[in-house]
């Protein structure tokens, strides 16, 4: 088990190293002359040179990369060009905001989707099952900007139940914050519900049809207990990994929702950075999302292997 954990962590580190190279190449190298891009075609050659010198972009590439990674490891991702503030500070604040939105979305979608998947599986082939699977699938294909706009029009403008912007006023209490995040969370819930419910349904059906469930029923165990102990326990194992793999999406993939609800999350920050050619901010943001992805996948894998006796206890002894 510990060997497995170490190997898994090692793999995550290698992935991050590769990611940092790609990010560096993508954001710092490919645009060519960084200062020229930042300053535009009409800037003087002297100004470009001076900016390149200030940004360190006149040095050899390897030196730049090593310098960038070295600083990043010490928690320094450089200065944002547009905001003239440390990238870490900007990202930190945005990350906290994104995490809040993701948490609200998660708290809503996970119980709903698990319950939906289980109910659909138990009513396999019946109307309830069709409604849940077809409804979930239909919701998944609605783009966030469509559902988001409809939600704003209906619930913020017509009914005025929720604010149309997700950013709460300064110093707002916990409930106010949650309240303002519910509306932006719903498009995410719609996207994720069908997916998680479907995976759950498949897992539950497999477990219901499994020989060990037959054994449990033919032992004379009550149905409720068979479902809780024999079916769900084995069915939800793979679902956990699927759910955790969505954490990365919820943290880094929310550009549309964040823009629509004018919410200062990390997705929007990266979007802005790329528009304003703020390369240090862009690189830092992508790297942070990469880390979030890796950490959530790692936790999912560890949770899975800890819950699965085949991996936890190992083979015959």
């Amino acid at each position: 088990m510990s060997r497995y954990v170490l190997r898994r962590i090692g793999l995550a580190l290698i992935t991050l190293l590769l990611l940092s190279m790609l990010v560096f190449i993508g954001t710092q190298l490919l645009p060519g002359d960084v200062a020229r891009r930042v300053l535009g075609p009409f800037a003087t050659a002297e100004a470009v040179e001076a900016l390149n010198a200030r940004l360190g972009t006149d040095r050899p590439l390897v030196v730049q990369y090593v310098d960038w990674v070295g600083s990043a490891l010490q928690g320094d991702l450089g200065q944002s060009i547009t905001f003239s503030r440390p990238v870490t500070e900007l990202l930190g604040r945005a990350l906290v905001n994104s995490a809040k939105l993701a948490t609200v979305a998660f708290v809503i979608v996970v119980p709903l989707a698990l319950a939906g998947g289980v109910v659909a599986a138990l009513r396999r082939g019946k109307l309830t099952d069709r409604i849940i699977t077809v409804g979930g699938l239909s919701a998944t294909v609605i783009p966030e900007f469509v559902s988001g706009i409809v939600l704003i029009i209906v619930f913020a403008i017509i009914l005025d139940w929720f604010p149309s912007t997700a950013t709460p006023p300064e110093g707002a209490g916990f409930l106010t914050q949650v309240h303002s995040l519910i509306l932006p969370a719903i498009p995410l819930v719609l996207v994720l519900f069908g997916y998680i419910a479907r995976i759950t349904r498949a897992g539950v059906i497999e477990a219901i049809d499994a020989d060990y469930t037959r054994t449990a029923i033919l032992k004379g165990l009550p149905r409720g207990r068979v479902i809780r102990r024999d079916v769900l326990r084995n069915a939800l194992l793979p679902t956990i990994a699927v759910i955790a793999s969505q954490v990365g999406y919820l943290i880094g993939g929310l550009v549309v929702v964040e823009v629509l609800f004018s919410y200062q999350g990390i997705g929007r920050l990266i979007f802005d950075a790329s528009q304003k050619k703020d390369f240090p901010l862009l690189a830092g943001g992508v790297l942070v999302i990469g880390v979030a992805f890796q950490v959530s996948m790692l936790l999912a894998d560890l949770a899975y292997s800890w819950l699965n006796p085949r991996i936890r206890v190992g083979a015959k002894s």
């Binding site: 037959r214 032992k219 024999d230 326990r233 084995n234």
Partner: protein, 669 residues
């Protein structure tokens, strides 16, 4: 002295079961009636698809979602089981009926410890909490699990198949049920483990006095375990009666056919072919006016096709659903008894010298093969026998070049050294050593037609173009006795036996000198198995090909093999002519294997304690000393005996002299 006869425990009366296929209900079981008396063991036997498991599941009230009982009744101790409320049903399952299933490795919940799963049963029976763990340990001890206190803390994946089946049996007998249903409980287990499980079931049955419904495709197992048997065919009970009578003096052409398809220990492949049953099982729900077996029956007359016979009582308290039960014993053979004539050569073809294979698993070496020396001659059949884990399949893979053996291993084909890996072998060498797998379902590409499956092998192994390959494909189909109507068929349209014929045709695409057959008939029904064995024998006579035949079925080996090699933990323990190895004196391991094999004849048995040790930690001294019933002392534990040629062509690896083994073994028979 007797007034009313005691009521039977289980009464199945005019049972009919349908399955919904698409939108139609199709009859799977029609009008099946039988009873099981107190403490009686009743066997249901028949080939796959005949409805055995369906009957069992109807009794357990656990038919698949698309199944329903359409008529009849099932009564357990007088109580009708078909119309029970959910609570009554649970009560019956807790206290009165238990079941043991075919596949023990999937029958237990993989994420719950053994102890907790067994404790459920006691909880349901109302045993107080503080007594349960002791009861669990007691019941595990009762099914002869060594060290039950340790086993309760294990998860299913940490136990072997034999151990898991004991756990399932423990759960089944914990409530001392009125009826125990066993559905192929030993299929898929090694013969040695099977023998142990069967002994265990017999003892427990006598001990707790339960009635048993025993379901199996194996006539030998049913014969051994059951007082009375019913023979199922296409959802009908064709024959019923005392096991002894049904198997020694069968009065239904189907039973006669089944028994004749079994290879017996008396007749070898050079004496006579195996008889087979022509044709196929009718499809589910087929509308048949007369006898369901008439199409395949050699003594059928017009009346058989028009009127379905009743299950008629015969002398000796038995029944037969046949218009002409008295003619059944004289059923004409379906295939000529004349065996194919073989060439007799003794030229060596493949020489395996000092072949070892060590796998590295989690940093530890696993010695799968250790110093194997074996010669296979042109046109002969060498059988490889031994329990799972003995290294049979590894040796096959090394021969085929799928796994490269360790340094120093040498394999030659007609005197030329064979490359270790198949990718380094020339087209001719690849074609010369081919394989037929156990499961034809997974060995054939489901998307390809028969023509494409065989044609591709022809082109690859002969390097010919499309046109000559088509020609050769047609020839090969004819050689495996398949008609041209299958030329463009996909595997899903073929029965198991036909698929295996296609697999055999593919192996013969490049005119092989050696075909490795890895359990080629163990997934097939007995009548199909007989036809495949006949085919292999005919092909061998025609093509003068050699077989390395891996099998756990010693009766098949005895019928087909010229020589036998017995493997244990990666070593050859005994090699010699089949007659000599089976006739004895044998190696103690061979002796145990032979006595474990279920046979239609009864005989005393040697029990093998425990399981085959792990190849990563082989025992010191003789590999077999940890389980050997004939161990003579310290020498066995410290010094590994050599494989010694004691007579021409016969070698044995044992410290006990052959003469002494002969003396010891003579007392058994």
């Amino acid at each position: 002295m007797s007034e009313a006869a005691p009521k039977p425990i289980l009464e199945v009366e005019n049972l009919g079961i349908d399955y919904k296929i698409g939108t139609e209900w199709k009859t799977a079981i029609r009008d099946v009636s039988f009873t099981i008396d107190r403490q009686e063991t009743f066997g249901l036997v028949g080939e796959s698809g005949c409805g055995k498991t369906t009957v069992a599941m109807a009794i357990m009230h656990y038919l698949p979602r698309n199944g329903r009982v359409s008529s009849g009744s099932i009564r357990l101790a007088g109580r009708d089981l078909v119309d029970l409320s959910p609570n009554e049903l649970r009560d019956v399952r807790v206290n009165q009926i238990s079941m043991v299933y075919q596949n023990p490795s999937t029958a237990l919940n993989p994420s719950i410890r053994i102890g907790a799963q067994v404790a459920d049963v006691f909880e349901l029976m109302g045993v107080p909490k503080d007594e349960r763990s002791q009861r669990v340990i007691d019941i595990l001890a009762k099914v002869q699990i060594a060290d039950p206190a340790r086993v309760v803390g294990r998860y299913p994946h940490q136990l072997s198949g034999g151990m898991l089946q004991r756990v399932v049996i423990a759960m089944a007998i914990a409530s001392e049920p009125t009826l125990l249903v066993l559905d192929e409980p030993t299929t898929g287990l090694d013969a040695t483990v099977e023998a142990e499980v069967l002994d265990l079931v017999s003892n427990l049955r006598d001990d707790i006095g339960t009635s048993v419904l025993y379901i199996s495709h194996s006539l030998a197992v049913i014969r051994r375990m059951c007082d009375r048997v019913g023979v199922l065919y296409a959802g009908r009970l064709m024959a019923e009666g005392a096991a002894e009578a049904v198997f020694t003096d069968p009065r239904h052409p189907y039973t006669v056919g089944l028994l004749r398809s079994l290879p017996s220990s008396e007749i070898g492949r050079d004496e006579a072919t195996l008889d087979t049953i022509p044709g196929f099982l009718p499809p589910l729900g087929a509308d048949i006016k007369g006898c369901v077996y008439a199409d395949r029956c050699a003594i059928a007359e017009d009346i058989c096709r028009d009127v379905e016979p009743d299950l008629k009582p015969l002398t000796g308290n038995r029944f037969s659903r046949c218009h002409f039960p008295d003619r059944a014993p004289d059923l004409p053979r379906a295939v000529a008894a004349e065996p194919p004539v073989r060439q007799t050569e003794t030229e060596p073809l493949v020489e395996i010298s000092n072949v070892s294979k060590t796998f590295i698993q989690d940093g530890h070496p696993v010695y799968a093969l250790n110093g194997i020396d074996l010669t296979i001659h042109v046109g002969e059949t060498v059988a490889l026998v031994g329990e799972s884990g003995s290294g049979k399949t590894t040796l096959a893979k090394v021969l085929l070049g799928i796994d490269a053996p360790d340094e120093g291993s040498v394999i030659t084909l007609s005197g030329e050294e064979l490359a270790a890996e198949v990718r380094d072998r020339g087209q001719e060498d690849v074609g010369a050593v081919q394989m037929v797998f156990q499961n034809p379902d997974s060995a054939l590409n489901r998307r390809h037609s028969v023509r494409r499956i065989i044609g591709r092998a022809v082109r690859l192994l002969r390097g010919v173009g499309r046109k000559p390959s088509d020609e050769r494909t047609r020839d090969l189909l004819a050689e495996v006795r398949m008609g041209m109507e299958y030329y463009n068929a996909k595997p899903r349209h073929l029965s198991g036996g036909l698929k295996q014929r296609v697999a055999i045709a593919r192996a013969f695409a490049g005119s092989p000198a050696l075909v490795v057959c890895d359990e080629p008939t163990s997934a097939l029904d007995v009548s199909v198995q007989a036809a495949i064995i006949n085919l292999l024998a005919e092909l061998q006579a025609e093509e003068n090909v050699a077989y390395l035949f891996i099998s756990h079925d010693l009766n098949v080996v005895r019928y087909l093999a010229d020589r036998v090699a017995v493997m244990y933990l990666g070593r050859l323990m005994e090699v010699g002519p089949a007659k000599r190895v089976f006739g004895g004196p044998h190696h103690p391991y061979t002796e145990a294997l032979l006595s474990a094999a279920p046979d239609l004849q009864e005989g005393a048995r040697i029990r093998l304690e425990g399981e085959i040790p792990s190849a990563s930690e082989p025992p010191p001294g003789c590999m077999f000393q940890t389980r050997c019933p004939r161990k003579i002392g310290e020498i066995c534990e410290t010094i590994e005996p050599d494989l010694v040629e004691t007579e021409a062509g016969y070698s044995i690896r044992c410290h006990i002299p052959v003469a002494e083994l002969g003396r010891l073994q003579a007392t058994r028979v």
